[in-house]
């Protein structure tokens, strides 16, 4: 059988590691389990040891081309095949393809009598044979402690186990050995004494009737590893471990802006809306229109031909669609076009981790540009505030890494604005809108504030937030002489203003006419005076012209006389 399989040895200079293929686990361990060494996986009954071991074998065979031997001390081959078939692993086919070999070791104390000395060479030979026939690189012994229930001679058993682990190392196979949790010790039979390279503890805790599975790497010789307890999940795709947070804050940022769907709100956010890939929190008391705001955002996303997932924790999708229809949003059409997906589940359906994982999975599959969680407040029913916070941190981290814009809504229980409310996420989010009731004059109105919006100029003003049949809008609150006015008080004030305006303009027109008239009278007067002046001027001019004329004529006459005289003289001279 082909033995050539690629291990990832050369990548790591220090300790070679074998990837398990289990989502998240390879990240915590920095690459996988120590290659060629046994790893102990221990935990109480039902915490997922066998499943983890099976997945290690199956993923090794399928993804890393490393055949594996599964030695089952507990389950029969058929049982095992059936159990993992629910995870989509076809062990029957893998066995046929010589990628996996399952050997069920049956130990029945009633069948066995012990006399004298013996060793466990039979087990060695079986395992060795199984390894050699398929060229296995991976081995699972599940649960080897069952030997202790079948055999009496503990001295032999312990010596043989020690020899077995040494022998596995010699064989160079990467092994997982599972062990049941004992009292005060990691395993009932103290296997941790023998397997000392890598120990992983699985735990299953139930708090408030909600179960959480946790994984912790107790030790990992020769390698750095995450030391925290990491929640993990088992679902139809197998096991997945979710590292609490990405350790670095190095997610990419975008300066692209996206509209909130409400032009007036965009105006408050520097005129352009939110940043793409940012996280937005809308908090407010009950009935202030948080869901409507969220639906508007979803609607706007879909109108841009981008995809959006809406996780509803309070209402069913149909209910939301109907309700949003009443304010003029047609979410159904977006769903039909495949741009919008709605997932509704009661928070108590499963633990926080399960919620996080299901969000992860939906996001990975649907690749949306926008994710909406409505509301996160209800998650508090399945976890403590700090747990919800840590979950949301991880969610935000994950979504930011993927450049997905996320919008949370949160219900604040107090009518007084509590600055550190909302599951403590207000410090994590990039933008925080607060919708608040403003109660005055016997009516309740909504006011919208922008508490913060990182990296952009935003309005510091309270806007009145109105929901009408045509949709949402923001109205400037009215600053009257009596202070801030909202609702009908604002409308009344506005009406009054309009009336005043009309009266004023009327008065103005009358005055204008009066002036017009006065001007006309004046102009008439000016005209008559002008006439008068002209007649006087004419008179004056007349005498002046006459004088001139007279003068001219006189001059003319004088010249005539002079000429006449001269002529006479010449005539006289000639006569002489």
């Amino acid at each position: 059988m082909p033995k050539k399989s690629k291990t990832n040895h050369p990548r790591f200079k220090s300790l070679p590691k074998t990837p398990t293929g289990i989502r998240g686990l390879d990240e915590i361990t920095g690459g996988g389990l120590p290659t060629g060494r046994p790893t102990l996986v221990c935990g109480a009954a039902g915490c997922g040891k066998t499943l983890m071991a099976t997945e290690f074998i199956v993923r090794g065979a399928l993804e890393y081309n490393e055949p594996g031997v599964f030695m089952a001390f507990e389950e029969r081959v058929e049982e095992l095949e059936m159990n993992v078939a629910s995870l989509g692993f076809d062990l029957v086919k893998l066995q046929k393809d010589k990628l996996v070999k399952i050997d069920h070791v049956h130990i029945d104390k009633s069948e066995i009598e012990e006399t004298g000395e013996y060793d466990l060479d039979g087990l060695f030979i079986r395992l060795g044979y199984a390894i050699d026939t398929i060229g296995a690189k991976r081995v699972v012994l599940d649960t080897i402690e069952n030997l202790f229930s079948g055999l009496n001679n503990l001295g032999v058993l312990r010596a043989e186990l020690r020899r077995l682990f040494g022998w596995l190392k010699e064989k160079g196979v990467t092994a997982i050995i599972t062990g049941e949790k004992g009292e005060g010790t990691l395993t009932r039979q103290g296997l941790e004494e023998y397997v000392s390279d890598c120990v992983i503890l699985l735990d299953h805790r139930v708090e408030n009737q909600i179960s959480t599975r946790l994984l912790r790497i107790i030790k990992y010789r020769g390698s750095v590893h995450g030391t925290n307890e990491y929640p993990f999940l088992i679902d139809e795709d197998g096991m997945s471990v979710l590292p609490i947070t990405s350790l670095l804050l190095d997610s990419p940022v975008s300066s692209q802006r996206i509209s909130s769907g409400i032009p007036a709100l965009d105006q408050m956010l520097g005129g352009k809306g939110f940043f793409k890939g940012s996280s937005i929190l809308i908090s407010g008391t009950a009935g202030t229109g948080k869901t409507s705001l969220a639906a508007y955002f979803a609607n706007e996303t879909c109108i841009r031909k981008e995809r959006c997932i809406y996780f509803a924790f309070e209402e069913s999708p149909l209910q939301i669609i109907r309700n949003m229809w009443s304010i003029g949003i047609d979410l159904k059409s977006h769903i039909d076009k495949g741009l919008l997906e709605m997932h509704a589940a009661r928070p108590t359906l499963n633990g926080l981790e399960m919620h996080l994982l299901s969000i992860h999975k939906h996001v990975k599959r649907f690749k949306p540009q926008t994710v909406i969680l409505d509301p996160i407040t209800n998650l508090i029913t399945v976890g403590s505030v700090s747990e919800v916070k840590s979950m949301l941190i991880r969610l935000i981290d994950f979504l930011q890494q993927e450049q997905i814009t996320v919008l949370f809504t949160a219900l604040s229980l107090n009518t007084i604005v509590n600055e550190q409310t909302d599951e403590g996420v207000s410090s994590l989010v990039d933008a925080w809108l607060l919708v608040r009731d403003i109660e005055a004059n016997g009516e309740r109105n909504r006011g919208l504030y922008i508490m913060k919006s990182r990296g952009m100029k935003h309005s510091n003003q309270v806007r009145e937030f109105v929901i009408t049949d045509d949709g949402l809008d923001l109205v400037d609150v009215f600053l009257g002489s009596d202070g801030v006015l909202t609702g009908s008080a604002r409308e009344a004030q506005q009406l009054m203003e309009v009336t005043g305006q009309a009266l004023k303009s009327h008065a103005l027109t009358r005055k204008d006419i009066e002036i017009q008239r006065k001007r006309k009278v004046l102009e008439a007067k000016i005209a008559s005076l002008q006439e008068e002046f002209e007649s006087v001027q004419d008179e004056l001019n007349k005498s002046y012209v006459e004088d001139e004329l007279k003068k001219e004529i006189m001059e003319k006459n004088r010249k005539q006389i002079i000429q006449n005289r001269q002529n006479k003289n010449t005539l006289d001279g000639k006569k002489k």
Partner: protein
């Protein structure tokens, strides 16, 4: 799994025993000697012993669920009984094989 019986043609023995060993270790040799001795003593002419060396036939180990070496398996009469160890305690072997009822 393959279960080869080398002398299936002959008349069925009342006792069919199979001894699994792994090479000629002292334990295996002791076990075989002990077994032969008990059989001659108590089951003369009615028994058959098959010795399987797992170093030669490792594939046979799984069939009889062999873990320990040496292991003696009583195939016939049923039910199958297993005795592990070097068979040094005669009493235990005889009781274990149901040759002699527990006193």
């Amino acid at each position: 799994m393959v279960k080869k019986s080398k002398s299936a043609s002959v008349k069925p023995y009342k006792w069919e025993l199979r001894l699994y060993i792994a090479g000629n270790t002292p334990k295996s040799v002791t076990a075989l000697n002990n077994l032969k001795k008990y059989c001659e003593e108590h089951l003369k002419g009615e028994y058959k012993i098959e010795v399987i060396d797992l170093l030669v036939h490792p594939q046979l180990a799984a069939g009889d669920q062999i873990l320990a070496i040496p292991t003696l398996v009583r195939k016939v009469p049923v039910p199958i009984r297993k005795i592990i160890g070097d068979l040094s305690n005669e009493e235990k072997v005889l009781v274990g094989l149901n040759i002699r009822p527990l006193k």
